[in-house]
């Protein structure tokens, strides 16, 4: 598999095609796996795709902010450059803030959206990791870890509250990455990031159960 395709002078990286394909297929698979009714699933998928689109825009903003001195002298140099993990952190903060203000607003709504986003993210990560393994012979340990998480998610989908499952997945994925430390698409988050993810999952689970463990 070539690393990129050339369309005239345009270079389209295979990695980019793989990431887009993974998320599109992830969204389609979520539609069939969703424990919600069809109307609610469509609404949640609509919002999730808006949040993912916001993340892409935020990554560009994060990349520009992180390289603001280069951007002011040579904008094209920054815009054509791949985003790094610092840009991802900035993008996540911007996306969470904007999404909370624009679409979520309540903790109940947040837990439902978190479930959708986590499921799509895990499915997309699995598909991307599979394609990487097949085309470029990378590591298969991450693939196995993701399969274990997804198997649990699919088996418990509809039986456990989406908020509980989402937080279990956050904890599981964070722990998996603390051990394997596989790249997340093109990014390489630090150990502290994964520790924060695990702590967030535990805190939210605690909040859920201390609130009487109500189903959504």
């Amino acid at each position: 598999m070539p690393q990129a395709f050339m369309l005239g002078s345009l270079v389209i990286k295979t990695e980019l095609i793989m990431i887009i394909a993974s998320f599109v297929i992830g969204c389609i698979l979520f539609y069939f796996l969703s424990p919600f009714d069809k109307k609610q699933t469509r609404q949640l998928l609509d919002t999730a795709s808006n949040i993912l689109f916001t993340l892409i825009i935020s990554l560009w903003i994060g990349k520009v902010l992180w390289n603001i001195d280069v951007f002011l002298s040579d904008p094209m140099a920054v815009l054509t450059y791949p985003s790094n993990t610092m840009a991802l952190y900035l993008a996540l903060i911007l996306t969470i803030g904007y999404s909370w203000w624009k679409w979520i607003r309540t903790f109940r709504s947040y837990q439902g959206h978190l479930y959708v986003l986590i499921t799509i993210f895990l499915l997309a990560s699995f598909l991307h990791s599979f394609m990487e393994q097949i085309f470029f012979q990378t590591s298969w340990q991450y693939l196995v870890g993701l399969l274990i998480l997804l198997s649990y998610l699919i088996a418990c989908s509809g039986k456990k509250a989406p908020g509980v499952l989402a937080n279990t997945m956050l904890i599981g994925w964070g722990l998996l990455q603390m051990i394997i430390n596989a790249p997340v698409f093109q990014f390489a988050p630090s150990l502290i990031f994964y520790i924060l993810i695990v702590v967030l999952g535990i805190l939210q689970k605690y909040l859920h159960y201390s609130n009487g463990g109500r189903q959504f």
């Binding site: 690393q3 990129a4 050339m6 002078s9 270079v11 990286k13 698979l29 069939f32 796996l33 390289n67 280069v70 040579d74 094209m76 140099a77 920054v78 054509t80 450059y81 791949p82 985003s83 790094n84 993990t85 699995f126 599979f130 393994q133 097949i134 470029f136 012979q137 298969w140 693939l143 196995v144 399969l147 997804l150 198997s151 699919i154 088996a155 989908s157 790249p183 093109q186 990014f187 390489a188």
Partner: protein, 172 residues
């Protein structure tokens, strides 16, 4: 029912990936000279900006990054500070081959090197021979070559420091 079909599909995909990995590991590497991953990188000799002569095969025994660039290329400019950092933090030999025939004047190259404080070797491809040998189309284009002279990674377009480190760690 749909849930279980998807679960079985995911398990089948993983099984295929693991088998593919194991079979791939058993196959011996195709050590022909070529431009694909697993091929021995084509050898070349060039003079650097400082007047030294570099021969790729002289670097056997150490990892090498070949980077094809020019001063007028915006992504190349963005990539250079990260390449310098990569050079400082690893034992990799970077050969940043300048496509000199595409420069407005050759004087632009030392100015560029001074502006970015580059300390790695800049071989000058004054006759476009190495660019032809490596069939360079978009720039920057980078190759990562292991200690045996075998290509382990190549990419079109810029790499950031994290991506360079990721591929470098795979060479270890």
């Amino acid at each position: 029912m749909k849930k279980w079909i998807i679960a079985i599909l995911l398990i089948a995909m993983m099984a295929y990936a693991v088998i593919d990995f194991l079979i791939g590991n058993q196959e011996s590497e195709n050590e022909e000279v070529g431009l694909d991953i697993g091929n021995v990188a084509p050898d070349f000799e060039l003079q650097t900006l400082t007047g030294d002569t570099v021969l790729l095969s002289d670097f056997r025994g150490q990892p090498v990054m070949l980077n094809f660039w020019a001063t007028w290329c915006p992504p190349c400019r963005a990539e250079m500070p990260d390449m310098q950092q990569f050079h400082e933090n690893t034992d990799i030999t970077i050969l940043a081959i300048n496509l000199t025939t595409t420069e407005a004047t050759e004087k632009d190259v030392p100015d560029f090197v001074e502006e970015f404080g580059l300390e790695f070797a800049i071989p000058m491809d004054r006759e476009n021979k190495v660019a032809d040998l490596y069939q360079i189309r978009p720039i920057p284009t980078s190759y990562l070559i292991d200690r045996d002279g075998v290509i382990q990674f190549y990419t079109f377009g810029p790499l950031n420091y994290e991506q360079m480190m990721l591929e470098y760690n795979k060479l270890q």
